[in-house]
Symmetry: C2
Subunit: 208 residues, 2 copies
């Protein structure tokens, strides 16, 4: 396989997803680090050569003029896990896994991850008036996402059944640090049991 | 194949994606309609039996006690197009297609589709103070998404190259009606050329 390099900020759960999958699958993965709070992913060089969308993570596949750059954390997860047991082969199971990955990016990340970024990385004292105003909506939506996950996990070991898939890794990344955004994970007992199962997977690596 | 039923609101671009893919692939698709502005996807029956997340679209696969319910528009697209030319087979091409589908749900839909919902379905006069306050941010983010698409399409017929994929259908759904949210599509010439190419695909059906 072509050499793989992750363009990342180590504080990002979206980047951690990719590192965790590489670890679970035993894939070598180099990293290059950027500080998103200093605008290091919005420089002209980054926008022209790494990601026109100005965001990390970006998975770089290969090196030199032939290198390909793959933004969007869940797309990079898909690339890495191609052909592995982390992607079920059956048609409906595959679609159901993607369902939870789209849920993660639409209902979970913009609320659970954003509040953690605001509270623990930017710092609550540094929020703008408009951020303070929409914070309660994001809190409510984040709680709703966690509650939905908790109900779903009441009778399942993992999101798509008895075995872990990319859906679990995608949702684990920002869920297991949701307390850094002020969410009380202890309110979600099935979620905390599932977190422990993921942390027990062979090859698991913690976020930092 | 098991009978397919789309639980939908016909005004939703996310629902239209699924109907357009079924039309392009010649798949029969029954529909059952709900009015999201009347809360018809938040009833106890809908939450218990169709989608605990209270949203449409949901693709129902099969009928009776064995039926499966698949939320998330892009996951339903994936299910329908399984094994077709709308999903490239090669590993990196498949991941690149998913990259644009995650971009659509993260950077595009929450801005371009939400403004169209606010301006053309709810009506601008009915917006809350908080909605009015965040409207400029959504406008700016929507313009950024359209500008990124326009630059990407400058040298390509479709998002992943010479042939259409699910990425094009996912992005087409809310882009081609972005003017209903106050976006000036004429500012994006590569996007308007791409819209015309999609409207020319064999089997294409318009939104209504």
């Amino acid at each position: 396989m072509a050499p793989l390099t992750l363009h990342e900020d180590p504080r990002s759960g979206n980047c951690y997803k990719i590192k965790l999958i590489a670890a679970l699958l035993g894939l070598p993965l180099a990293t290059r680090q950027y500080d998103i709070t200093r605008g290091e992913t919005r420089t002209p060089d980054f926008l022209a050569n790494i990601n026109a969308n100005g965001r990390i993570p970006v998975l770089q596949i290969g090196e030199g003029p032939e290198a390909r750059f793959l933004p969007e954390s869940n797309a990079a997860c898909w690339y890495l896990a191609h052909g592995s047991a982390l992607i079920p082969a059956e048609r409906i199971a595959q679609a159901d896994m993607l369902r939870w990955m789209f849920f993660e990016q639409y209902n979970h990340e913009p609320n659970v991850a954003t509040l953690r970024f605001w509270m623990s990385i930017l710092g609550e004292a540094n929020l703008s008036d408009d951020q303070r105003r929409i914070l309660p909506y994001k809190r409510e939506a984040g709680e709703a996402a966690l509650a939905l996950m908790d109900r779903h996990l009441a009778d399942k070991a993992f999101f798509c059944g008895a075995a872990p898939t990319l859906a679990d890794i995608a949702l684990f990344a920002y869920t297991h640090i949701a307390h850094e955004g002020g969410f009380a994970l202890g309110d979600y007992r099935h979620v905390t049991g599932w977190i422990a199962r993921i942390e027990g997977l062979p090859g698991f690596v913690p976020m930092d």
